[in-house]
């Protein structure tokens, strides 16, 4: 399943609290390679919207550091996407 690996890749959830943070998130998409899960793209981000995005393992530290520098609170929805990809096909019911 999936030749591309996602070891240490993370999915973050953030909620911008003002227009500066909205701009920061939109710019972040230009600095780092970000895959938006919700909304579909950085274009759609508005103030107070919950934004979920996936960052590859080699860029997570940089992204976390940038968010902290900009006072952006974040939640980590997925710590290691590769593990969760593998778990999806395991029936735990």
């Amino acid at each position: 399943i999936s030749a591309r690996r996602f070891d240490s890749a993370k999915v973050f959830r953030v909620k911008p609290q003002n227009e500066n943070q909205v701009s920061f998130l939109k710019n972040l998409a230009n600095i780092a390679q970000i895959d938006f899960w919700y909304p579909d793209s950085a274009l759609h981000i508005v103030n107070q919207m919950e934004v979920d995005f996936h960052v590859s393992g080699d860029q997570t530290k940089n992204v976390e550091s940038l968010m902290e520098q900009n006072g952006m609170h974040y939640e980590i929805l997925f710590q290691n996407l590769q593990e969760d990809i593998e778990n999806q096909l395991v029936d735990k019911s």
Partner: protein, 308 residues
């Protein structure tokens, strides 16, 4: 993948394709398989028509899997077919619906992208076409429909996830869907497109904040469908017009169907709200599909009693 097709597991395209032939063969009086076109990589696109064979019936068109990584979507289309064929003649409501209505169900729109998401990149979203001059492949098929195409949010950059293609309906997958719907427009009363995630039930418009002429009716219908969903496992689905409920978007299939004249047009965003995202576990396929089946039956019953 190994093993056989299962309604409670995610199936790769090979299994889904074989299943489309099998379900037709096992239910000849209820199901027929129609070849509606080919994908960019030349794979056949099969649509399943389900309903008791008779003339001039109303119909609902349902498509699944426009976005490759949203695996729960094609799982739902398969589930709904199973439910329809196995409860026909047993469940009064389903029997009445299928006696008086056809469903045109496209189990997987973005076949090439879906295969890519299984074999190469689990989080692939777009199709696999590479008709642009760029090295980046794929078009967001849900930005490729001929309604406000290339405006509002759609990107003209082939490397973006919401790249809308070189022109409206530039993609063979889009063309196959629109051609079929145009050719059956007189019978199609409702259009449902199944996506994930975020648990929402959306209706037009997406490309403008304006309300549709039948906004209040669509809102009531969406409310009833959301209540039907919640009745089973208590899952809360937000509902409302796309632009105001999520964000403005253009070139989307639900707006296109509505503008074409299908006045009951809905986008379902299935479970969940981020805990699993595109990685909804297989253990949640059954409850998710069960709750959405209730909503589809609710809408179908409404269409039967409120349209001519």
């Amino acid at each position: 993948s190994t093993g056989k097709h299962s309604y409670t597991k995610y199936n790769d395209w090979r299994k889904i394709s074989a299943w489309t032939a099998r379900i037709e063969k096992r239910n000849p009086a209820l199901v027929s398989r129609i070849h509606i076109g080919n994908t960019f990589e030349n794979r056949p696109m099969y649509l399943l028509k389900v309903g008791k064979q008779s003339d001039a019936k109303k119909a609902i068109f349902i498509d699944c899997g426009i976005h490759a990584r949203e695996w729960i979507s094609p799982a739902f289309c398969q589930w709904f077919l199973k439910k329809a064929t196995r409860t026909y003649g047993k469940d009064t409501n389903m029997t009445y619906i299928l006696d008086n209505m056809n469903f045109y169900i496209l189990p997987l729109v973005n076949i090439d992208g879906y295969i890519w998401s299984w074999t190469q990149d689990r989080f692939w979203r777009k199709s696999r076409s590479n008709t642009s001059d760029s090295a980046c492949a794929g078009v967001d098929l849900n930005r490729n429909f001929d309604v406000a195409w290339g405006t509002v949010d759609a990107s003209k950059n082939p490397c973006q996830e919401i790249y809308c293609g070189t022109s409206p309906e530039s993609e063979p997958e889009t063309k196959a869907v629109t051609t079929f719907i145009r050719n059956h427009l007189s019978s199609i009363k409702a259009y449902l497109t199944i996506h994930s995630y975020s648990q929402m039930l959306l209706f037009p418009y997406g490309y403008t904040y304006e309300k549709t002429p039948n906004h209040d009716e669509l809102n009531e219908l969406a409310k009833g469908a959301a209540q039907a969903i919640a009745s089973l496992y208590g899952k809360h689905y937000n509902y409302g017009p796309s632009a105001a409920t999520i964000y403005p978007s253009s070139g989307c299939s639900d707006d296109w169907a509505y503008k074409l004249g299908i006045k009951y047009s809905f986008t379902f965003e299935l479970r969940d709200k981020g805990r699993y995202g595109f990685l909804l576990p297989e253990s949640q396929i059954k409850p998710t599909c069960e709750e959405i089946t209730l909503a589809v039956k609710f809408i179908a019953s409404y269409i039967l009693s409120h349209t001519s």
